[in-house]
């Protein structure tokens, strides 16, 4: 293609040791005029200190209400290649495992039909192909579909679920994150493709409370692996670690409930008081393992700051027997999800995430609505204000 735009400012970002996105854009621009134009517009943003995209605009694939984000240049005449510069979201392989065959073919598609630029991955977990016009959308989609991949979520729908590597490559996984991730994506394909919710809804699955997919911070429903029985201790390995570093100081003293101690040389854990935080297991992976009765906790309502402030996921179900439920095609969780969505549909307002709805109507109302009992694990502590709403049904 050859360099059409001068990009002195962006060129500064080719210096330094960290891999440069500008180099990536240039490599793509070598084959794509539209990415050359993108470079030009971004350079202009660098000069003006302001972005040069028009607000939103439509883009999509027939039959789908989601999966593409429309993007139009503010200066279509100056940068005709990005007059339209939409991106397409593609459901990733769970755990982000791929092979070279698929990736090469996808690279080809992105160069053939779009700007040759991709995101591995978007913040929600989709593969994104950037720089596409509406006219090409169907072709790209069919090409991708032929590789066995489908469009991801966008808008007021179920967003593409994602998960940590889990049992595929991690000894800490308490359940099969990839399996349930794929299963529920499949189950709710329609909810994902055809936005009909009040707002977006996200699932994420982490195999343990290290939460490597950051589910607690950014998914309406976070599934975080845990266990019910005792941590398994290999005392010999404990002793090995104790030779190498100060286990008392760096492990025991940092246990949030101080439920571990040494009796002579042996490590003792008061498992009844363990909150499954993973710290000791992280530090002593050869010596300690989660117990055998495994499952996950379900946290609800995490989201970004707008409109009422950022929210972290809050404990809804301390122990969900996901491994058992897997045998029944995850029936229990599906019925819980449908109760939630019904409640959200009925009581939520437009652009209100489920966490905000619970904040607004109160946890009790929500629990009643979805048929769960209040339990102390849901709260940091019971109420401290005395404004109790006694109801008739509770009186003797």
């Amino acid at each position: 293609m050859g360099k059409k735009h001068q990009t002195p400012l962006l060129d500064e970002l080719k210096k330094g040791k960290w891999i440069s996105f500008v180099r990536e854009m240039e490599r793509a621009a070598e084959k794509s005029e539209r990415t050359e134009d993108l470079l030009g517009q971004v350079e202009e943003s660098y000069r003006d200190k302001v972005n040069h995209w028009k607000h939103g605009g439509m883009a999509g694939v027939r039959g789908y209400g989601a999966g593409m984000v429309g993007r139009f240049s503010e200066y279509p005449d100056k940068y005709p290649g990005i007059k339209e510069c939409h991106s397409m979201r593609i459901i990733p392989s769970a755990g982000f495992f791929y092979n070279s065959d698929f990736l090469r073919k996808l690279a080809d598609i992105s160069e053939k039909h779009a700007g040759g630029l991709l995101n591995f991955h978007g913040a929600t977990g989709n593969i994104q192909i950037l720089g596409m016009s509406q006219a090409e959308a169907e072709d790209v989609f069919q090409a991708v579909a032929e590789l066995g991949f489908d469009l991801g979520g966008s808008g007021s729908d179920l967003r593409t679920p994602s998960c940590c590597a889990g049992q595929a490559r991690c000894e800490f996984a308490n359940y099969d994150t990839m399996k349930i991730c794929r299963h529920l994506t499949e189950e709710y394909l329609d909810e994902l493709h055809r936005p009909a919710f009040n707002y977006k809804f996200k699932f994420k699955f982490s195999g343990c409370s290290n939460d490597c997919v950051a589910s607690a911070a950014r998914s309406d429903l976070a599934f975080i692996g845990t266990w019910k029985d005792k941590i398994k201790i290999n005392q010999d390995e404990v002793k090995n670690y104790a030779k190498k570093f100060n286990v008392q100081k760096y492990v025991l003293d940092k246990c949030p409930t101080k439920c571990m101690w040494f009796e002579s040389e042996n490590l003792v854990i008061d498992d009844e008081n363990c909150v499954k935080c993973m710290h000791c297991i992280n530090e002593l992976p050869k010596a300690l393992k989660p117990g055998d009765e495994r499952g996950c906790s379900i946290l609800i309502g995490a989201k970004a700051p707008l409109v009422t402030g950022p929210r972290m996921g809050m404990m809804l179900v301390p122990f969900y027997d996901v491994n058992e439920d897997a045998k029944n095609d995850y029936e229990w969780i599906k019925s819980l999800i449908s109760n939630m969505w019904e409640f959200w549909d009925e009581y939520g307002v437009s652009r209100e995430r489920i966490g905000e709805l619970i904040g607004r109507v109160g946890l009790n109302t929500f629990l009643e609505g979805i048929g769960l009992e209040p339990i102390p694990e849901m709260v940091e502590h019971p109420r401290s204000n005395p404004f109790i709403k006694f109801t008739e049904d509770e009186e003797e």
């Binding site: 400012l9 500064e12 970002l13 330094g16 960290w18 891999i19 996105f21 854009m25 490599r27 943003s45 660098y46 972005n51 995209w53 028009k54 039959g63 789908y64 993007r71 510069c85 392989s93 769970a94 755990g95 982000f96 495992f97 791929y98 092979n99 070279s100 990736l103 090469r104 996808l106 690279a107 995101n119 950037l130 579909a145 066995g148 489908d150 595929a168 490559r169 000894e171 996984a173 994506t185 493709h193 939460d211 490597c212 997919v213 911070a217 950014r218 940092k254 949030p256 499954k276 935080c277 710290h279 992280n282 700051p305 707008l306 409109v307 009422t308 950022p310 996921g313 437009s350 652009r351």
Partner: protein
């Protein structure tokens, strides 16, 4: 029906079966890993019950990549990993190696090609980030350029393990905060400082007034009549420049070249290890956009990292370190001024005050 002739059009095929991409060793040991060891900041090994060992080499990625990048990593995967590779939740590439003797050659090849190997252990992790000026209409700053500038400066901490714990930095170009930005060890967030401008005519055509009003966290938008037609007005006394209205209504642009920039937040975390997940807290309310190399942000992040490295005990995340030394000392050590902006004044502000006589004097 006309539809019938198009029967072969593929649609709603659902998520791909990941099993297709799992290497034989992973399939055999699925759910049966027993422990892992970090060999160096670029390499770890997972050991299975069976005794099988899976080596992982991690490589930095700018996330926004070209087809050529994809082919590069595919070549490496073919050469050493039977074509198997994955991405991490923070956008790094991971090569999954079954044969130990492929580890070092693979790393050499990557380095020869100019790629960065590292990111495992007590490192600065790859910065999760968003679109910025490259693709998003609401951005108050660029994303990739800031990330690149910061990572260049912190490069040594990606390839070497010399921090007290992992440091996760995240970047978002506006308050929508795509990503787990609001609970990062260090967060960099694009920030406006002027109220939205109202384009009355476009507003009538493009925006739904009730949802525009509802989008505002501070109730600063009121219905208004403009030239006898329905519109909205903004109370500039209470507007907090969040851009939420612009997300909903294109006729209320808020970007402002002179007044946009970045804010810095510290001490958040997502993991439940030891302490509960917690949000990042304001460190610096505003640093003007200063492309192409964003020295202000780079220095701020470096300052925090230096003090953290000097002061934290092994295993302490940034927030745990600050909790131990206290916020007054954090501000003293970094030299960042504490201002009225640091005192919360939003919805739950009153829960963030110091309800005690505890103070370091």
């Amino acid at each position: 029906m006309a539809e019938e002739v198009k029967k072969k059009r593929l649609t709603d095929i659902g998520p791909h079966d990941y099993n297709e991409y799992l290497s034989p060793m992973i399939k055999n040991n699925y759910g049966k890993w027993v422990y892992h060891e970090i060999i160096d900041p670029g390499t770890m090994v997972h050991v299975a019950e069976s005794g099988d060992k899976l080596y992982t080499v991690r490589m930095g990625s700018p996330r926004l990549v070209s087809g050529s990048f994809v082919r590069d990593i595919c070549d490496i995967a073919d050469k050493y990993c039977g074509g198997h590779l994955r991405f991490t939740t923070r956008n790094n590439v991971e090569f999954l190696i079954e044969d130990e003797k492929n580890v070092e050659p693979l790393k050499k090849d990557l380095e020869k090609m100019g790629y960065n190997v590292g990111g495992i252990g007590n490192i600065v992790a790859n910065i999760v980030h968003t679109q910025g000026w490259v693709h998003c209409h609401t951005s108050a700053s660029d994303a990739s350029g800031v990330v690149k500038s910061v990572m260049d400066e912190l490069y040594e901490y990606f390839i070497e393990d010399k921090l007290p714990s992992k440091v996760r930095i995240a970047f978002a170009c506006c308050l929508n905060m795509c990503g787990s930005v609001s609970s990062s060890d260090i967060a960099i967030v694009g920030t406006h400082r002027k109220p939205p401008r109202i384009d009355a005519e476009r507003l009538r055509n493009l925006c739904e007034i009730p949802s525009t009003i509802a989008s505002c966290p501070t109730n600063s938008i009121r219905p208004d009549t403009i030239d006898g037609k329905p519109g909205v007005k903004v109370n500039e006394e209470t507007c907090v420049f969040c851009g939420s209205c612009y997300t909903v209504c294109p006729a209320m642009p808020i970007a402002n070249a002179e007044n946009d920039g970045l804010s810095i937040w510290v001490g958040g975390k997502v993991s439940n290890a030891r302490t509960k997940p917690t949000f990042s807290k304001l460190a610096i309310p505003f640093i003007a956009n200063d492309p192409p190399r964003w020295p202000g942000v780079v220095n701020a992040v470096k300052t925090i990292l230096n003090e953290y490295k000097k002061g934290a005990e092994p295993g302490e995340r940034v927030g745990e370190w600050i909790d131990r030394i206290g916020w007054p000392r954090f501000f003293k050590l970094t030299g960042f001024p504490f201002t009225k902006y640091h005192i919360d004044d939003f919805r739950l502000a009153e829960t963030t005050m110091n309800y005690s006589s505890h103070a370091r004097l």
